[in-house]
């Protein structure tokens, strides 16, 4: 970066390039992050499989076979078990086997994935938006700092599970009436998980904003006369993006897990409605006999979380001009 390095090019008649769109730079850098690209690819294929798969795959996730079919179809093993156990009960129509009442595991994973991913993303979005808003307001406006941070402490001090159970009991019926059985539960769970997981983000963001506020470029913006409503999106938010990104990607995992815990306790989705968390919980009892029923949903959750983490990592790097171009 010596001062005379660019001088010769400045003399050439070529006009200087007009400012490029920042998002082009971001995309260019994102493409260079291999982990993020692989993560994005995996996440996209999970999304496609989960949302488009049921259109191709013929089995019904919620059909419980009756009569002689029930005996014939229940407790089927995945086809790969044939590799070491030629006498296993398998069927090519059920590649991942069936559960103890004869429902196809792959179909249940697809249907469950739709719900789990939707809950994870929506709850994460809600908690990140809430946490960022409260953190930025508390950090930026001194007058709001006390009240908002005490509110955060209050939420942190609440025992979450009892609170969730009471809230589910109170609001399940009205929401069911408004959004239908599954829609109502979905809204309820997303809201509850979102409302009870924003506190860490808020604290981290507030700390970062407090430090940023004392930086000279914020002072410079104030000397220009930038009002707070433009100061925050222009100077504060872009610089607290890293911690927000991290808590967002971690938030997806914890939202999926919280949803499964709720379902396990019988307060989430109805028992016959599959989600990844519920599949896991249902299979725990006979895990040693049927490990695939734990492995596959567990793998799906891990892969989703991991790929989202990598995407977040790549995005964070791509959004930081100091790392960009390395």
């Amino acid at each position: 970066m010596s001062e005379n390095k660019a001088a010769p090019t400045g003399d050439s008649p070529a006009l200087p390039r007009p400012p490029r769109s920042q998002w082009r730079d971001v995309w260019d850098q994102f493409k260079k992050h291999r982990g993020a690209l692989i993560g994005a690819l995996i996440f996209l294929s999970i999304l496609l499989g989960v949302f488009l798969g049921p259109l191709i795959y013929p089995q019904d996730a919620r059909l419980v076979p009756t009569g002689r079919d029930f005996i014939r179809l229940r407790d089927m093993r995945p086809i790969y078990v044939l590799l070491w156990d030629s006498g296993a009960k398998v069927d090519w129509a059920h590649p991942l086997g069936t559960d103890n009442i004869g429902r196809d595991l792959l179909a249940r994973m697809m249907l469950g994935g739709q719900v789990s991913i939707a809950v994870g993303l929506a709850a994460m979005a809600l908690s990140v938006v809430l946490g960022t808003a409260i953190g930025v307001l508390a950090g930026f406006f001194r007058r709001l700092d006390g009240p908002l941070m005490r509110l955060t402490d209050l939420f942190l001090a609440l025992p979450l599970l009892p609170l969730l159970l009471v809230a589910v009991l109170l609001f399940r019926e009205p929401l069911k009436a408004a959004f239908g059985v599954e829609g109502g539960i979905f809204v309820l769970i997303v809201t509850l998980v979102g409302l009870t997981s924003w506190m860490q983000t808020a604290r981290i963001v507030r700390g970062d904003v407090l430090a940023l506020k004392e930086r000279e470029f914020v002072l410079a913006a104030r000397s220009i006369g930038t009002p707070p409503r433009r100061m925050i999106p222009r100077h504060i938010l872009p610089n607290v993006l890293s911690p927000i990104m991290v808590s967002a990607t971690l938030g997806i995992a914890s939202a999926i897990i919280t949803e499964s815990a709720l379902s396990f306790l019988g307060f989430g989705f109805p028992p016959d409605f599959p989600t990844w968390g519920r599949l896991l919980n249902d299979a725990v009892d006979r895990m040693q006999l049927f490990p695939e029923r734990v492995i596959w949903p567990g793998l799906a959750i891990s892969l989703t979380v991991l790929s989202v983490n990598y995407i977040g990592d790549g995005l964070r790097d791509a959004l930081d001009p100091r790392i960009r171009g390395r």
């Binding site: 970066m1 010596s2 001062e3 660019a6 001088a7 090019t9 400045g10 200087p16 390039r17 007009p18 400012p19 490029r20 920042q22 930086r215 000279e216 470029f217 002072l219 410079a220 913006a221 104030r222 000397s223 220009i224 006369g225 930038t226 009002p227 433009r230 222009r234 100077h235 872009p238 610089n239 959004l319 930081d320 001009p321 100091r322 960009r324």
Partner: protein, 354 residues
């Protein structure tokens, strides 16, 4: 001052400016005192001149500069800018005044948002205060980059890609964007290499000539202030102790603190350096939260008198344009004259020795 040979208009008039930061302590966070960072400072800045503001670290120079632009809510006093009292303006009127007064910051790294391109940084004042079209804005940004000596190719780059001197140029371009009349330069060269300092100072001087700017140049570098300033104010512990035209101040400092400060400036000539008599001050600067009674400097002053521990000296004009706050010059006129005489004698002696 009122009858300066070129009768320049007073652009900024500071009267009894006070900037106190409250100290809270105890369980109830009760206010137990205040750090008197700036405590009753008065000076004028004439249009087109450079007023140097010098003093040691922590004496309140930067606070004074920031308070002047109302980056802090001032505790008391008046700041008249073009006849308007900035210290009392409402937020809307203040925002309307912002374009006329800008600031260049000490740390060029910290004063530029690392997530914005150079073009976006320089254009921010334009975004805030003008309704230019995108193309006009870009043209103005290029014009400013030319003015401060940055290649137009740099417009898309980010601050971390530049050297300190270039970053300071970006900061200067941003300050110039709205055609200000008055710029507070808050130690603009303190974070730069010596080789770059000269470039930046020369740039500031060129720009002053081209755009008719008025500077308040805050620095602790006495030689640099001597180079750039027309008049110099010396601060000690939140107060201006001496204010004089540059040559008068450097050749015949009146206040004991100024004398000590100037005696510390190294001389590039080793022979001269060897015979320079340094006035070494004893002790530390008192806490601005608890300044001494009487004159702020009395605890370290080599020439302190009994009255200095009792009464705060008045800041008054003792010679043409030469203001000082010291009891030594508040005595009877003849005593003052004799002090001046001994000074001049010493000056002559020193010059004779050279």
């Amino acid at each position: 001052m009122r009858d300066d040979p070129p009768p320049r208009r007073v652009l900024v008039e500071v009267r009894e400016l006070q900037m106190h930061f409250p100290i809270h302590a105890g369980i109830l966070r009760r206010r137990v005192g205040a750090v008197k960072a700036v405590d009753g400072v008065s000076f004028d800045i004439h249009e087109g001149e450079t007023l140097g503001l010098v003093g040691e670290s922590g004496c309140g120079k930067s606070t004074c500069g920031r308070a002047l632009l109302r980056l802090y809510e001032v505790t008391g006093g008046r700041i008249l800018f073009d006849g308007q009292d900035i210290a009392r303006l409402g937020p809307r009127e203040l925002r309307a005044m912002r374009p006329a007064m800008q600031m260049v910051f000490q740390d060029p790294q910290a004063s530029l948002n690392p997530r914005m391109t150079v073009a976006a940084i320089i254009a921010e004042p334009l975004d805030e205060h003008t309704a230019l079209s995108k193309a006009d804005k870009l043209a103005r940004v290029y014009e400013l980059m030319d003015a401060v000596g940055l290649s137009r190719d740099f417009a898309n780059r980010y601050p971390h890609e530049f050297s300190g001197g270039q970053r300071q140029r970006i900061g200067i371009a941003r300050a110039l964007a709205l055609n200000p009349k008055f710029i507070v330069c808050d130690e603009p060269i303190a974070a730069l290499d010596v080789s770059i300092q000269a470039q930046v100072v020369n740039l500031l001087e060129d720009l002053q000539e081209r755009f008719g700017l008025t500077y308040l140049f805050i620095s602790h570098d006495l030689s640099m202030v001597r180079h750039i300033a027309d008049r110099v104010a010396v601060m000690y512990l939140g107060k201006v102790v001496e204010l004089a035209p540059r040559d008068a101040l450097y050749n015949a400092p009146l206040h004991p603190y100024t004398q000590a400060l100037l005696s510390a400036v190294p001389d590039p000539d080793p022979a001269a350096e060897a015979v320079t008599e340094r006035i070494i001050l004893e002790g530390d600067v008192p806490s601005p939260a608890n300044p001494p009674a009487g004159c702020n400097f009395c605890t370290r002053c080599p020439q302190a008198m009994e009255i200095c521990h009792r009464e705060d000296p008045e800041f008054r004009e003792v010679a043409h344009g030469h203001h000082v706050a010291c009891h030594r010059y508040n005595e009877a006129e003849d005593e003052f004259a004799s002090a001046m005489a001994t000074h001049e004698a010493r000056e002559r002696n020193q010059q004779g020795e050279d």
